[in-house]
């Protein structure tokens, strides 16, 4: 069992989410940075589908009542076991009575904590993920919450430490379905100008500030499906990138779509970051 001693600004349970239910209005949800979530699980010998804690801007403190192997991934950050500094991106034994603390990352936003055996929370529609848009899944973690840990299913991997990945601010984009609703200059601006991450950034999506992206077709778009990484341009002309808890349909044109890898990197952007999109 793991005890949540402190949560930091936001700590939520995530796994690979609820794909396949978008036609019922259910967002995919799941870890915002899927690569980091997968690595945390692999470092402690878990299945890819096991649930982890997604920690936003550090501040999570957990305590163990028995020996638990844990690993923290995501942007490089400092960990502490009691008062001893220790490394992220490695499997660590957390012994009974010890506390693990995660500092806020210097760059990036979200770290992932996996425990060997996987975090056991009730599933909703096949997933343990907290979905902040729809309210499905467990509530965000609170101080004093206890989480059961499952039985290990695989062996610990034969490595001590994995490489750390510094979040990239160069994001790869592909044309979206409504690129032709925008002027040619709008696309040129999207892939050449610098964009600033606004304060409006969460698990649902990230709004950017920069030059206006002008429409060629001004009519209203009948609602159509959205995917993670879709770059939508609402009224006002400033782009918005959707992350894991995105609405399943939207009524503004999608000009571009991030690659899967870049969607993971986008989940590590923080307000004020400068970003470039490469087409």
């Amino acid at each position: 069992m793991i005890l949540i001693v402190d949560t930091g600004p936001l700590a939520v349970i995530e796994d690979l989410g609820r794909p396949g239910l978008a036609h019922l209005g259910v967002p995919p949800s799941g870890a915002a940075d899927r690569a980091s979530c997968g690595l945390a699980n692999r470092l402690v010998g878990n299945d890819e589908i096991d649930a982890v804690i997604e920690v936003t801007f550090g501040g999570l403190i957990i305590a163990a009542d028995q020996l638990h192997w844990v690993a923290v991934t995501g942007p490089p950050t400092q960990l502490w076991i009691d008062d001893q500094p220790t490394a992220s991106h490695a499997a660590l034994p957390l012994r009974p009575g010890q506390r693990l603390r995660i500092d806020p990352p210097v760059r990036g936003v979200r770290n992932y904590l996996a425990a060997r055996g996987g975090l056991q929370m009730p599933k909703t529609l096949g997933s343990r993920s907290t979905d902040v848009l729809s309210g499905l899944g467990p509530a965000p973690l609170r101080r004093g919450t206890t989480i059961q840990v499952g039985q290990p299913t695989g062996s610990l991997p034969g490595i001590d430490v994995a490489p750390q990945r510094v979040p990239s601010k160069d994001l790869e984009v592909f044309p979206g379905p409504r690129r032709d609703w925008f002027t040619g200059e709008a696309w040129a601006r999207l892939v050449s100008e610098q964009w600033t991450v606004s304060a409006d950034a969460d698990r649902i999506g990230i709004r950017f500030e920069g030059p206006e992206l002008d429409r060629r077709i001004a009519e209203e778009l009948p609602s159509e499906g959205l995917i993670r990484g879709a770059v939508q341009v609402p009224a006002g002309g400033q782009p918005l990138v959707f992350l894991a808890d995105h609405p399943v349909t939207g009524g503004y044109p999608v000009i571009a779509v991030l690659s899967d890898v870049s969607a993971d990197h986008a989940a590590q952007l923080r307000p004020g970051d400068h970003v470039r999109f490469h087409g």
């Binding site: 396949g20 019922l24 848009l133 379905p177 009948p222 609602s223 959205l226 995917i227």
Partner: protein
């Protein structure tokens, strides 16, 4: 032919259809197609999430496969009882230059078809047979709309599955549970389903 297949990044395609009935008529066929993980209907499109490359032959098939006529897929309409006493009934009547009683009659005297879902789990966008109730959204959305509220926006009707903010014109309320994760099928209404509203407060 006006059906189009639009690139949606590296792992999805958007099939733009002639209209909603065509999109709905293609759903069962698209769900049986290889290389497609997920089929997500919109107002006149179907988003296809891919798990493998779609080659030219399959692209041609997606563009030319005849849609099933909706009467081949439909079953009996789902009846939803509505207490028509919504706060915006008078406003809706004003917008269509009619009376509240006529708004109720127009809403309950035709079959509505679920076009797609969105906004929140279980929220179905219902398309009418006749565009009799075309209304503007509220200029300022309400911060709190109760679960079960029945609303109108543009030509759509919808029922709020849970309490939350919303900008649709509210004309009534139902006790029907639109969304319940404890049910084997949590959404009461799914794309392609047909709905008959029934007034329960007629005097």
């Amino acid at each position: 032919m006006s059906r189009r297949l639009l690139d949606y990044g590296p792992s999805a395609l958007l099939l733009e259809c002639e209209d909603l009935p065509e999109a709905l008529g293609l759903l069962p066929l698209l769900r049986g197609e290889p290389n497609i993980d997920e089929v997500i209907p919109g107002a006149r499109t179907v988003l296809l999430r891919l798990n493998a490359h779609v080659d030219d032959a399959q692209r041609r098939r997606l563009l030319t496969m005849p849609a099933m006529a909706l009467h081949e897929t439909e079953s009996a309409p789902i009846r939803i009882e509505v207490d028509y006493g919504g706060e915006d009934l008078a406003e809706v009547a004003k917008q269509i230059t009619s009376t509240p009683a006529e708004v109720i009659r127009l809403h309950a005297s035709q079959i509505w078809t679920v076009g797609f879902c969105g906004f929140s789990p279980g929220f179905a966008y219902l398309q009418p047979e006749h565009d009799w109730l075309h209304v503007r959204r509220r200029p300022v959305p309400r911060t709190r709309v109760p679960a079960g509220a029945v609303g109108l926006a543009d030509s759509w009707s919808g029922i709020y599955p849970r309490e939350g903010p919303g900008g649709w014109q509210l004309i009534g309320r139902t006790e029907a549970r639109l969304w319940d994760v404890r049910r084997p099928s949590p959404a009461l209404l799914q794309p392609g389903d047909r709905v008959q509203f029934v007034a329960i407060n007629e005097s």
